[in-house]
Symmetry: D2
Subunit: 334 residues, 4 copies
């Protein structure tokens, strides 16, 4: 039995408690939030839940084995560090931390104390992403040409972070998971329309050493919700539309074969266009699988795919993107 | 009666001849192409058409009033210059020229000779773009936040130009037409996957002085065809899906109102979400209207909306985009 | 405060309890189900809920004011009758009863005892149906030509009723609500593919006196889920796609004007094709509104729109459809 | 070389001439239409075409081998009969004739004279229908449960026939082609909204002996264009959306397996839901293939799949549907 304390009951906290509560071998013992209304709402649903406004009651409680940090990102470092120092495993909302340095410190601390860090990259546990991972690992797509994602909708404007830090962690963590290569350089563009110095529209390009390119279009000001990713490979190409009820993933047997002969007009391009297959995608709630996996990683002392290092890789990209953004597209190598 | 000579009978030439032929007051008198098969095909449809493999027969013919240059871009300057020097109005395929310098020269020459230049920005004559222009001119959208377009499909790889020069002129010319403000700086990213030094995927960001931002996603390697533009305004937001048979344009009564109070958590965001209106869009073939307009501009001696200066503005953006592309996103001011 | 007892905790029962529980002035005091697992599940969520396997403990309990009957249709009559006889208001799952006779008896009993009957035609409380009702009432569509609905998907095969009794009550109750005219005759076709004598595919046509026609396509064997209704009016036409997240309703300014002159070839048809408007639709959970409305009707002693008579009208159509179905399309007047 | 004379240059005639003209071994020698404007339009495109307003000049011309009858259906019998009597093969627009009796007579006449009849069921030559035929012939779908088609749009109201005779021949001829079983009975419902005694909305159900059922929804008064067919089989199920540019056909690995045990609640339903495959569909223009096939059948003296008997089978269904329609759904056995 793992006892968990949760810090933060805002937008995502209720989903965390609902999913972890539903797992055999896990008990949510207490919840901290500085907002009394939030605590009241939680107790309305879980009458036996202990609540507090002081997070130290959770991070230092001897009955607690792991702490879920479901708060704004600028608080992650302090809360997670405190929990680790008190010997608790941590489950941290994405993005992992506000800076690369913070992430590195937490990783070091956890390793010293032999504690687990899991960063809540929920999408890795969706049926769609697991299927994409499988297709790429099985070389169905062949060598990859590009990864192109759009994640736009109206709102929710965040108070403390720009649209890249809010929306891109989803796509960056998915790309990081399904693609083995590591980024070489980043260029980002974007603007803030409301005098907040927090961009609400941004475009992030990630270069890889092998000519792969990735691009992320994130926007809080779109009249329509779009959740679409194109992945182009030498052998096949894939479209993932996460808003489709069924047929979220479509794999196209399409491609080009190019022979460049001498002379300008001797380009031979052969376009291949075959069937499209939409594989069945498991519909289990991702957060439920992730919660079970967290328990499993602790029980078996195994390393999560979404461990601190995974969290750090995403924060590195976010930090580089922000630096490029401040310099209007300037290439940031790393 | 205006007599027209056409140079170039490749992919687009047949459409040019078909549409100009159908207009009262216009006569296509001769066609030049260096490819004999092309000339044979043309004569099969238009038995009375004079054909030649020497473009000078067209540019110097005394019976010809205007020359349509429907050839690869790297030939535009020479052909157009020759036609202008011989006193012919010109209708030039997009993009206007390969360089800013060439465009400027042609404009100067035409003005000196009092001849018309029309650049074939066909999309300006579609019902959809005319409706978008009208909505923006009537201030239905309010101040503009962004212009975000995607134009991707499988192929057609061009021999002599990259994907920006092939696909982006459509969207750049539309943006240039519907938006009054002029670009301030450009950042572009992209890659070539086939060792041709011609990018087949690219992302172009255009900054404006007033915080407007534009972005263009062009790709020859997409398994699916997408032709989608989002235009966000303070009052309303618009989605244009050019692949829809009906309902190409949707105008959303959506927006946000943001008040930033002191303190991090005092952000007040008010989201507005009302009806959506899809205005009826005229379905007349754009090239037909454009051909009539060319005749009209010549007859009335008026300046086309898509004159040499419009063509030049697009070439300027293309040149800046290419320069940025070669430097991986480096900002090019202008 | 109204105390409610619920009978039936299968597929729909949990939604009933969740929504009624959330309303001020309502208390769910006890639940009956013959399945012990169901009762255990319910107590897991609502620890204070009394449970029983004997429905009489609910229908006769002095502390209970109203009984919700959320069981298979063949049990409705007995349970509802017992509740009414014991002075309880009833909220009955759709379809109201298995026969017209049963419905008439229950209505008579309720009227004699001055008790409310509400039939759970949930769809009447969706934002989409309320908007459609408003558009028709405001004569936006003009005189109606037709009502054409499709409700198909894979499963859920019901044990005791055919696909008409399972799926069509939704659409029949919506049509009954938004259209003032009453059916004149019904013709239904369909087949059973599994030797169960319960049709799994069926087509129901409803004739009205004024030339309006309605048609219902219901199918448990469709590979795709379709929830689409077309309503054609003299002035405008409407498409309702309930699977759209936004833009569920689209109102087309389209129509025809026909003048028949003498002679076969003197038909003059004028097609009108204008803008399309997709009105914003309220997203509040329908069952929540319906639960509040039930409380409201009891408190104010007012007659629900979905009272026993509404329930009876649907059962009448279902009974006629079944009779026609058994005779392969034979017209049933009524 | 086959010389063809064409009678009728209305909506479809131009497509007939364009496609037959493009085939090696076929020459369109003359055209008849009673409308002088139509003849002028044709000569504008085909300067060498002989034209006439007297169809006998075509049916009796010694230089003509085959006559294409592209006129309103009520004229087919007289024109086709005259052509056959004069020894010409015939290509007749769908539906073949106005009555079963006429069709039978023409078939008998053609057989006696050893002439070919081809009825223009163009859809049989589309890539989509050929692929569906292949999937059914290869038993990919397994035993068929149902064929359910929708063909609706705004207009074109026909002068002389109702919506069933106008739109349903497409779908009936497709069903007739891809499904081996023959109809056992028909029930049809519909109404006329304009006092013309020609229904503009109709629903046709076709019963087969083996429990297969087919349904056709045809409507001239729909605000949106829908061209959708669902075909359910024991092994797989298919959706054909003819308005999709790509992915016209989707084959779903979905189904149900039902075991009925004793007792009402002992129904065991096992739902199967696997991948979806969208096979590539050939995009060649159907009428071009059909024209080549007509030439081929004459040259090789082989029987077309769309011969007089195929035409007759469709007319039989149309006649039965009309009879049922006049009696509001009454079952017509045959």
């Amino acid at each position: 039995m793992i006892n968990i304390g949760v810090i933060g009951y805002g937008y995502w906290g209720p989903n965390i408690i609902r999913n972890f509560s539903g797992i055999k071998g896990v008990k949510i013992v207490s919840l901290c939030d500085t907002n009394h209304d939030a605590l009241n709402r939680a107790r309305g649903i879980y009458p036996n839940l202990k609540t507090t406004i002081d997070y130290r009651e959770i991070t230092t409680s001897p009955e607690i084995d792991a702490v879920a940090v479901i708060t704004p990102v600028f608080t992650h470092y302090e809360l997670a560090k405190n929990a680790l120092e008190n010997g608790k495993h941590i489950f941290v909302e994405k993005p992992f931390t506000s800076t690369v340095k913070e992430a590195e410190e937490l990783i070091e601390l956890a390793e010293k104390k032999n504690l687990k860090i899991m960063v809540d990259h929920t999408f890795l546990f969706t049926g769609a992403v697991r299927k994409i991972k499988e297709l790429i690992d099985d070389n169905v797509l062949g060598d990859l040409y590009y990864y192109d994602s759009i994640r736009v909708n109206l709102g929710l404007f965040q108070h403390d972070i720009n649209v890249i830090w809010d929306l891109a962690p989803h796509d960056l963590s998915i790309m990081d998971y399904v693609i083995k290569d590591r980024p070489a350089a980043i260029s980002a563009n974007g603007v803030d329309h409301f005098g907040r110095e927090l961009e609400n529209i941004a475009y992030v390009t990630v270069y890889f050493n092998n000519n792969m390119i990735a691009h992320f279009n994130v926007n809080w000001l779109s009249p329509v919700k779009i959740r679409q990713t194109l992945i182009g490979g030498e052998k096949k190409m894939l479209v993932w539309n996460d808003l489709e009820l069924d047929e979220k993933i479509k794999v196209y047997n399409k491609g080009v074969n190019i022979e460049t002969k001498e002379g300008l007009y001797n380009l031979l391009v052969d376009y291949r266009s075959g069937d499209m297959l939409s594989p069945r995608v498991d519909q289990t709630e991702a957060l439920k699988l992730e919660a079970e996996y967290f328990l499993d990683c602790i029980s078996r002392n195994s390393t999560p795919i979404n461990d601190g290092h995974a969290g750090l890789r995403i924060v590195k990209m976010l930090e580089a993107a922000n630096m490029s953004l401040r310099n209007r597209g300037k290439l940031i190598n790393y």
